[in-house]
């Protein structure tokens, strides 16, 4: 049994959907950030699969390298924001972040 492009895309889709559900349903702020990491990895897996199985070649792998670097930068800023929220409100529950509610 040979696993081709569809198999990699299926795994990428599972990662993406799990990350999306994590982002949408978790009440812990750090849990939402973990969902973001899952989504980015699903996209990376898609890129690498297309690099291997279509004529995209090296361009897709370079793009996934940039995705990894940018995800690290975004995780740092998001964690700094989460830490500030925790220091000010002593909770990391995103349902308590309703000061801007109309």
């Amino acid at each position: 049994m040979q696993f081709g492009l569809q198999a990699y895309l299926f795994v990428g889709a599972v990662l993406f959907v799990c990350g999306l559900v994590c982002m949408a349903t978790k009440r812990n702020g750090i849990g939402v950030l973990m969902g973001v990491e899952l989504v980015l990895n699903g996209a990376n897996l898609n890129f690498v699969a297309f690099s291997r199985y279509t004529s995209l070649g090296l361009d897709a792998q370079i793009f996934s390298l940039f995705v990894i670097v940018l995800a690290a930068a975004e995780a740092a800023v998001a964690l700094a924001i989460a830490l500030n929220f925790y220091n000010n409100h002593l909770t990391i529950d995103v349902d308590r972040a309703n000061k801007l509610k109309g």
């Binding site: 049994m1 040979q2 696993f3 492009l5 569809q6 198999a7 990699y8 895309l9 299926f10 795994v11 889709a13 599972v14 990662l15 959907v17 799990c18 990350g19 559900v21 994590c22 949408a24 349903t25 978790k26 812990n28 750090i30 849990g31 950030l33 973990m34 990491e37 899952l38 990895n41 990376n44 897996l45 690498v48 699969a49 690099s51 291997r52 279509t54 004529s55 070649g57 090296l58 792998q61 370079i62 996934s64 390298l65 940039f66 990894i68 670097v69 940018l70 690290a72 930068a73 995780a75 740092a76 800023v77 964690l79 700094a80 989460a82 830490l83 500030n84 925790y86 909770t91 529950d93």
Partner: protein, 195 residues
């Protein structure tokens, strides 16, 4: 040579794909954020294994070094610094869980049927693979393309070089520096009386 039902590479793909998918589902299902972090590390580590299986050695190594060894450690630090006491559980209500699961399965079905309905074109030119240039050896072409030359795309007459990825490389480097300085400033320890 007898062909078994599944050769070694397919078996490894199946194992790592199963670990990745099940760990990703476990991240969603886990009740405490520390367990979510553990399943996330497992999921991203086996994604790196899938990268190695897809002949992307450098991307797989970068995933292990930067993502698992850097970003996820940062997330674990964040979990530690925002801990909310051992008996306080922040959990979603059962109605929301069922709704989330239903929407997730629906979305999964949509994505998968969209992916299956496309006739993906095969690679135009088979890459030259030899004993001293194995299939995953992407380090030199990737490095050279980040420096601005694309030796795998150069036209035959030699004095036209296609542009590499030097400008995005510079931009991302400066971006990373600025973002990390900004994050360190944002997360600094503040005095109690003022911010």
């Amino acid at each position: 040579m007898n062909e078994s039902l599944m050769d070694g590479q397919s078996l490894l793909f199946l194992i790592f794909a199963a670990i990745t998918c099940l760990s990703a589902v476990a991240v969603v299902v886990a009740q405490t954020v520390v367990r979510m972090a553990f399943w996330l590390v497992l999921s991203l580590g086996s994604t790196a294994a899938l990268f190695f299986l897809a002949d992307a050695d450098f991307v797989g190594a970068a995933q292990l070094l930067i993502y698992v060894g850097g970003t996820l450690v940062l997330l674990v630090f964040g979990v530690m610094l925002t801990a909310s006491g051992p008996y306080l559980k922040i959990a979603t209500s059962p109605g929301e869980t069922v709704l989330g699961a239903a929407i997730a399965l629906l979305f999964m079905f949509v994505v998968f049927s969209a992916v299956n309905g496309v006739e993906w074109p095969a690679p135009a030119v088979a890459q030259s693979v030899s004993a001293d240039n194995p299939a995953g050896n992407t380090l030199r072409p990737l490095g050279l393309s980040l420096l601005g030359t694309r030796p795998d795309l150069d036209l035959p007459d030699g004095d036209q070089l296609s542009p590499g990825y030097l400008l995005p490389f510079e931009i991302v480097s400066v971006h990373l520096l600025v973002v990390l300085i900004g994050a360190a400033y944002l997360a600094r320890a503040k005095r109690r009386t003022g911010l």
